[in-house]
Amino acid sequence: MTISHFGAVLLFSLFTSVIFGITQRSDPRMMIRFGAFCFVLFVGGTIAASWLMWLIKH
């Protein structure tokens, strides 16, 4: 199996956010919100860190 770096980020973020959402909140609606929040932070943080590394290199 091969996977792109971004694909790995998306899969990792998805599964991790699901678990975080379920375990860190009590109300189902808040679970979804927190899970989505974690997902956006994971993916956004990775993209931001990637650009930062690109800027450092160039």
Binding site: M1, T2, I3, A8, L11, F12, L14, F15, T16, V18, I19, I22, T23, S26, D27
Partner: protein, 138 residues
């Protein structure tokens, strides 16, 4: 001196008659099993799918399965993370799944997927335990 500040209600009441330790153990051995025992079917299913998928993707990416060792601190920590997957780890060891060492760059991702799957499973098992004891509301 008295205070009007009230401590938050900590106990939401037990949700099951089963021992909380049993739920913790079940949640560790089989991802989502703790929630299944508490009749939280959707949460249990999502946990099961997430953990098993992460573990499976890790294996498919030729991730490393750590064995008990005293070599390096990071190896021991990774082994502890692997152990968090419960029976999935046992199955992987019995059927000799996973790689003994990381040989390609993408396999490092796989190794991390497997380790994190174990850590997330521990969080899930503790969550089921908290639900059983009433520490977590619902």
């Amino acid at each position: 001196m008295t205070s009007n500040v009230q401590a938050p209600a900590r106990t939401a009441g037990k949700t099951t008659t089963m021992p909380a330790a049993l739920i913790l153990l079940a949640g560790w051995l089989v991802p989502g099993a703790g929630h299944f025992l508490l009749r939280k079917w959707i949460r249990g299913s999502l946990i099961l799918i997430s953990i098993v998928s992460m573990f499976g993707i890790g294996l498919a990416l030729k991730g490393k399965i750590y064995s008990p060792n005293t070599a390096e601190l990071l190896d021991m920590l990774n082994f502890a993370g692997n152990l968090g997957t419960g029976l999935l780890y046992v199955i992987a060891r019995v059927f000799d799944l996973g790689q003994a060492s990381v040989q390609v760059a993408i396999a490092d991702y796989g190794t991390k997927f497997i380790v994190v799957a174990g850590l997330l499973n521990i969080i899930s098992a503790v969550d089921a335990h908290s639900l059983a004891t009433g520490r977590k509301a619902s």
